[in-house]
Symmetry: C2
Subunit: 198 residues, 2 copies
DNA sequence: ATTAAATATACGAATTACGTATAAAAATAT
DNA sequence: ATATTTTTATACGTAATTCGTATATTTAAT
């Protein structure tokens, strides 16, 4: 069991690091803060990572890598748009997708340029793939035409954040019910509609 | 012209302070940072505010006060739900509504308890008023019944954040067009519908 | 020209953050 | 049970931030 990346504490640091860096960026988050929230002592932190920057780098690479894979496999599948949307949101919930603007902002100022290049290429690549997919769905009449697919993606991303809202979750039996509500909203809106009425 | 609150620099500090505090909370934002972003020198900052805490307090009171007034006047108006939703989002865009959880988290740790009480009372008050309103709309058949109004409010709040997304804004002639798109989505969804087809 | 407002710069003091060293405690393996 | 590894608690020195102020200069308004 010498694979460091499967270590419990290591994973806790990565997870907490991602959460905090994603939200507040690099400089606003301290090593001590990450340790506290991850319930890992500072010593073990420095056992796994030589410094704060390397944690951020590791987090970043993992997120982007995993995100791209997930995205692509969903998009490659032969599924109806609604189902794809559903799964897309699901993977976002798992928290591996999207690169926080806040994070990029000050993390990159001190990073190697190759990192930046790699990421920007892969993200826009996936992004375009998604948009193409929605465009096709529009042509097939599954989505209304006066709607920019780019907008839909951004909206989906935003809605994902709500899936962690406790007061909302308390209103539903399971998180899946809330998620279902989201997809329903995106597809049908709040207006009454015959095919979906209770 | 001795009214300090109409001063240009004062307003810049309040505006920047709100933006940063809202996003990152109290402790993560420094006075120098606020000054830089607001393009105000540190000296003038300390001319208007004795310290960082007082800025946060001023920002907070202004936001809550203005937010409540706006909310109430919209809700009191005799308008269709769609129009109310539209205006609600508009006022949110102006940035005076909602109290950031991040901000409350560490700002309140050092604040007077009376502030906390005041705010919690007024916010839940307004919140309930809104929900009541949407419930009424549901009973009148303007919204589908299998939809919790609380969710709609949270969603609206999230969507507002997208109204500042530059890449999205670039796709529309005016910000109003993007806003219109949001309300359309909320009401009709992305599915094709006869009454709204292009 | 006079006055008021805003800035640039630098400063000391306090706090925070970084990364390391040491020794104790907890968990795991033998 | 004993040995070994892993994690922790604590403290430390150093560096960087941040706070709030002091002083001198610039800009803008009257």
């Amino acid at each position: 069991m010498e694979n460091i990346s499967h270590n419990k504490k290591y994973k806790a640091l990565m997870e907490t690091g991602r959460r905090l860096f994603w939200k507040h960026g690099f400089r606003r988050v301290s090593v001590e803060e990450v340790c506290e929230e991850a319930k890992v002592s500072k010593m073990t932190f420095y056992k796994y990572f030589p410094n704060k920057f390397e944690l951020a780098k590791a987090v970043f690479m993992e997120v982007v890598g995993k995100g791209v894979t997930d995205f692509k496999s969903i998009m490659a599948a032969d599924l109806p748009v609604g189902e794809k949307m559903h799964r897309l949101i699901l993977t976002k919930v798992e928290g591996t997708n999207e690169v926080s603007r806040e994070f990029l902002a000050d993390f990159y100022l001190g990073a190697e340029p190759e990192l930046k290049e790699f990421v920007e290429k892969t993200t826009t690549e996936v992004w375009n793939e998604l948009i193409k997919d929605y465009r096709k769905a529009q042509e097939e009449g599954m989505l209304r035409n006066d709607f920019k697919p780019e907008l839909l993606l951004k909206i989906a991303t935003k809605l994902v954040e709500l899936l962690k809202d406790e007061s909302l979750l308390a209103m539903y039996d399971t998180p899946q019910d809330l998620l279902l509500e989201f997809t329903n909203l995106l597809v049908y809106g709040v207006a009454p509609h015959s095919s979906h009425e209770k």
